[in-house]
Symmetry: C2
Subunit: 555 residues, 2 copies
């Protein structure tokens, strides 16, 4: 059962969800004082020891093995082979444990899942190196995003699920007065899981984007198959290993959480999720495949797809502070975050600042300078931009010059001082007028930005809203010193179901979403149909079913 | 704003939702002591005064009018004409009030909706007569189902919506410690409505099945269009009138809730719900149209379709008590409830009773006798069976003899002592073996029942489960004196997302679902994708959108 210590841990997370104040169950800084003097070295050693051999951590075995992973930093294959299974094998094993996991209590499931998070925490550093060498994230982001932030998101999903499972009484005595007598029924309810769940991972955030759906499906009683992106298996394989160990340690079958790896030469995703026993599908990735996932009849789906994110600049106090903030947002992980800004809308009369009006052209030039200063800073640049996960992203940056827009900041050669073969792409910034909508009304994934001149701020907002409603948006930044303009932007972007960060400067960025506080992806526009972690995110994974019977007459 | 009295009323409903104990905000008995000495006569007079003229209660006017309603009791047209509008007109008006209703606070909306329920209550008797003469329900059911029970369901939806809208703080100060300093953000969230809502009514329960979706969409801020069944407009037209009066009395536009009547010769439903501005669709009715509604891309839908409901009889204590209960369930409103039982599964070895084994044949005969005794009882029969809403239902009963099953109770002529022209259909009971699945694996809407002989109770349960998973089920009754069999039935029917009533005898029936306690339709099997009123039922009607901005430095 759920120990007092774990129950207390869970209750703190539930309280954070309800207060929406800052809360972090897992410290985000990889300091030796927090995680232990040798944690980093041990994690690195564990990562290196795992290379060029079969992955043996899973309680799953197969005669078939494969693996595609290549480090964006070294250009070399990781050489790790994972057991491969057919979709039918995975679904059959999941189905066999459906009832036992479904009938486990919320406390029993929470106990297993919190146990797994304790093991997950012990592997933060190994997962960090695994994330670096699959996604191309820099070390600090790899640690934070795949370790503590992911674990916080997983805990959030467990806490929200636990809360919903316990929201109504499991039993009640229902006594209806009928005048001279009463009808008394004993009623009970079960939160019945939907069925077999599949979580489809992505190549850029293999744990952060996977664990919310994984833990949400597990806490609500659904046996879950993780289908990682073939280029980013290791980080989530370690998480699945932790969950399987926790399941086994608590007397459950490891088949309740399976890793269903595939290789690019033989993808299994469609066959897997089209299996009739699969009722829940979580997906992070491109829009085309995401739309297909959403279209599947008889499945409950949770998607995060692409978006076109906007920055609306009306008026600012200190433009340099704004430029530094935006340059960071644009450069962070080379624009490979789903929350990275792409379109910067500025009215043609320019930006009001404390030092006077700044024209669109001057803004574009100063933004380019801020980006250059950031990525050329040897102490910061490489740690911010990381490397490029997918060669197609690097190619897209190279080809930006052919789009026909005015190039304000051309891409150029970059070098990483530690990894001579790292795949890199310096940001490109272009300037266009608002009527060139075909150029900027698509997601150009990677470090690619447009400065777009509009008629006025109302026009800027209308375009940002249209982009969000038509192509999706996961973030939006807005800068204004006017309360009226702020309210107008809030009203308009609310109707596009797009969260807005106003007037960010300093050490907080539009790209960042805080666990236990920000709802990541609203689910209300084409960027995705689900949100981390609102109540709907867990409720849709089970069904309330009621049972009732006349109570025995009272003596 | 929400008055103290209304707030208190709402809080009692919220408490009932959480306790799931018996609660009724609106007394279900039409006693003069409760509703006033003249309430019944006044309601009847108001109903009669409304006949054969235009319906003038709405704050909507049109040059086009029409109405199709015919009383199942008299066979005569009600002669009431309603204003008709094109789908584009309805959606345009709804869209124009979208932002004002969307930005109204939860308290403001709750105040309007509770006010409307007060007006609704004042019209319970008029609505009862309107329901009788459109649906064919008997007087008592017309009063209860369309009046207090419907108002309770509406209140439940308001209470659940209000609870979810207030679940998280509207604003918070989020302070993240960064070592030497903190980042402090002011965060706020809006529950942004999904868009224009349409609620499609049915002919048998025109208010009870419509008001949950109607009030759920309204409390969450969506302007809502009610599209009633053309044969059952008047009861819900009066409800819409009450809502419009409450809107106007509180300074809102009546366009926030419109009645969008159509006539059989010119249906508008498809064009209406396919309008891109329509984002929410509630539907009660047949499966084919319901599947079409669910298939609409870009809409959030809430459906209640058909089901094949089972009674599983393993063993009983007092068979006569069981038979009386089942005969009532089968006869009530002549089987025209979505919760009415159709398939009675009994193992071939017979039913264990306190008086020994009763064979399937004997059970069928005794059930037939119990039904006959009930409907031939002049004080009870007409008040239980009511009349037949749709001529197709009466025809289906007549044609049951052609199905090829053994007829245990043939249908026959019936007469209603008060209405010589009432459309009636006496129940038909057939007996078949379990291998005649093609006969009983479809909903035969109306007073039609099969007694089905199975190999054993496990077989009975397997068939009931298969019916529910394949064709949907909204209710299930089971009789067993064995705790093990009860647990087995619970496990199996839970996996078919079908609620089970065990061992009902006396004055409580499998057909009945209690507001504030039973989740009506689980949403988990093909009988429907939604449930009255679980949290999902309201949460899916809005989207949380967050806004954040650095807090001003503290002095």
């Amino acid at each position: 059962m759920l120990s007092e210590q774990r129950k207390d841990f869970l209750n703190k997370a539930i309280a954070a969800i309800y207060s929406r104040k800052f809360y972090a169950a897992y410290p985000e800084h990889p300091a030796p004082a927090i995680y232990g003097e040798t944690a980093d070295a041990d994690g690195k050693a564990a990562f290196e020891a795992a290379l060029s051999k079969p992955f043996t951590g899973l309680a799953q075995s197969s005669t078939q093995h494969g693996g595609d992973e290549v480090s964006p930093y070294t250009g070399e294959s990781l050489g790790i082979n994972y057991p491969l299974f057919t979709p039918a094998e995975l679904v059959e094993k999941a189905s066999a444990v459906k009832r036992s996991w479904g009938k486990a209590t919320a406390d029993e499931r929470a106990n297993v899942l919190l146990h797994s998070l304790e093991l997950f925490k012990d592997n933060f550093f190994q997962i960090a190196y695994a994330t670096m060498h699959t996604t191309g994230q820099a070390y600090m982001m790899s640690f934070q995003a795949s370790g503590p932030h992911a674990a916080d998101r997983a805990l959030e999903a467990v806490a929200m699920g636990y809360e919903e499972l316990n929201r109504f009484p499991a039993t009640t005595e229902w006594e209806k007065p009928m005048g001279k007598y009463s009808i008394t029924l004993n009623k009970s309810w079960r939160a019945v899981p939907k069925g077999v769940a599949v979580v489809i991972g992505c190549s850029t955030f293999p744990t952060w984007n996977t664990v919310p759906g994984l833990y949400a499906s597990l806490i609500t009683g659904n046996p879950t198959i993780v289908k990682p992106h073939p280029m980013a298996v290791l980080p989530i394989a370690i998480v699945v290993e932790c969950i399987q160990k926790a399941l086994l340690a608590n007397g459950f079958s490891a088949d309740i959480c399976q890793l269903g790896t595939d290789v690019a030469a033989k993808p299994i995703t469609k066959e897997l999720i089209e299996n009739p026993a699969v009722k829940l599908v979580d997906y992070t990735g491109g829009t085309t495949f995401g739309n297909y996932v959403e279209s599947l009849a008889g499945k409950t789906t949770f998607t995060e797809k692409a978006g076109v994110n906007s920055i609306i600049i009306d008026s600012v106090d200190d433009l340099d502070a704004v430029l530094n903030n935006l340059a960071f947002s644009l450069s962070l992980y080379s624009g490979q975050m789903c929350t990275a800004p792409q379109n910067f809308f500025i009215k043609k009369e320019g930006i009001q600042t404390k030092d006077g009006i700044v024209s669109t052209s001057d803004f574009a030039t100063r933004l380019a300078n801020a980006v250059t200063a950031l990525i050329d800073n040897p102490k910061a640049g490489p740690h911010i931009i990381g490397a490029i996960q997918n060669p197609a992203t690097a190619a897209r940056v190279q080809k930006a010059a052919d789009l026909g827009a005015e190039i304000v900041l051309p891409t150029r050669e970059l070098a990483n001082p530690m990894f001579a073969n790292a795949r890199l792409a310096a940001p490109v910034i272009m300037k266009v007028s608002a009527d060139k909508e075909s150029l900027f009304s698509q997601e150009l994934f990677g470090p690619i930005a447009f400065v777009i001149e509009t008629n006025d701020t109302t026009h800027s907002v209308a375009l940002a809203k249209e982009m969000a409603l038509t192509h999706g948006a996961i973030s939006c930044g807005a800068y204004t010193t006017s309360a009226d303009v702020k309210e107008m932007i809030t009203d308009e972007m609310a109707e596009a179901y797009t969260p807005v960060s106003f007037n960010l400067t300093g050490g907080i960025y539009v790209n960042q979403n805080a666990t236990f506080s920000d709802f990541h992806v609203t689910g209300g526009n084409p960027a995705g149909n689900a949100s981390f972690t609102n109540p709907e995110y867990v409720i849709k994974r089970f069904t309330w079913v009621g049972f009732r019977e006349p109570a025995a007459p009272k003596s």
